[in-house]
Assembly symmetry: C2
Homo-oligomer: 164 residues x 2
DNA sequence: AGGAAAATATTGAATATTCAACGATTCCCG
DNA sequence: CGGGAATCGTTGAATATTCAATATTTTCCT
């Protein structure tokens, strides 16, 4: 079938595309917000690719890593730490509980709270994920340079601090 | 109702939380991937807040901004430029077409392709969004410093380049 | 030329995220 | 003390994203 018919495509000109003189504005690639999004997307994608064989998304690694201090963390603290909204975290934790990676304990001191702990199974998985993540960091440092990496980290930390 | 009963909460100990000595590993806050995610989240959130009154998500601004050069862009090029997967872009463009911000034209030279254009309505919206975005950039530069901002941008560009 | 393979964009189903509202508990303050 | 307000986490519905499969068109190769 003709694609134009099925897609409701607009045909403003018969012979040519519209070409209009435009006053150029700042290209999107020069915006800090865009550069951050692009860098984050790329690095995150690479890390996800490494985690692929473990079948764990990056967010779950963050959760496991935070919990692997062995201490309990409330859902609220955890949400802040792993950069997830509360309802998103709740549902992700549900999945991780199903996979027996973490478990919930009701906080006896404040019964509104739930305290999250990592399981033994979660701990051993975390170790494998940590080594995958460290190997990525090593790979970046190698290609990108130790100084650049350190400078970038420092600048990002400072930006995050100022942004709050 | 008792929360523990409804939530299937685990009670591994009667009197105390499990506390286990752990060998500490690199904190998540020192990973580049985490710092990028955190900075991106924060900056993106702030930009989204500014765009709130226009009711436009950041991704749509990116699309509008790329199209505002007045030239046509194929869906594939656009997807790369705005950091969106193809199906996600298709559906977002559907919404933008409904809002009369952009329109589709079938490419006469390659009829597999769809060429996207911005509408007049899209252009005027883009101008408002651009000024909101520029004001955010100015705000960042002010709090964070011109040099730090420039350095950070340069390092991010370089990281993106090396990461490909 | 002709047919297999690649490229392009979309669709539908499955999955994930978000928003608003809720239930339970604790805090605060008169 | 008592009751309204705040906090904490979850839920359900609405929305958005992703994955796999598809339709169409073009390219490539012999």
């Amino acid at each position: 079938m003709d694609q134009a018919k099925s897609l409701n495509i607009h045909h403003p000109f018969q012979q040519s595309f519209p070409t209009v003189a435009r006053t150029p504005s700042t290209p999107i690639t020069e915006h800090l917000a865009y550069l951050l999004a692009q860098a984050n997307r790329e690095i995150n994608r690479q890390l996800d690719a490494r985690f692929k064989k473990e079948g764990v998304p990056v967010e779950q690694w963050r959760i496991l890593k935070v919990l692997s201090d062995g201490k309990g963390h409330s859902m609220g603290d955890l949400a802040d730490a792993v950069l997830l909204n509360h309802p998103t975290l709740t549902k992700m934790v549900d999945r991780m509980v199903s996979d027996a990676l973490v478990y919930r304990v009701q906080d006896p001191d404040d019964r509104r709270k739930v305290v999250m702990f990592i399981s033994d199974r979660g701990k051993t998985l975390t170790q494998r994920l940590n080594s995958l993540a460290l190997s990525q960091e090593a790979h970046i440092a190698e290609n990108y340079g130790n100084k650049a990496t350190a400078d970038l980290k420092r600048l990002l930390e400072s930006l995050i601090e100022k942004a709050n």
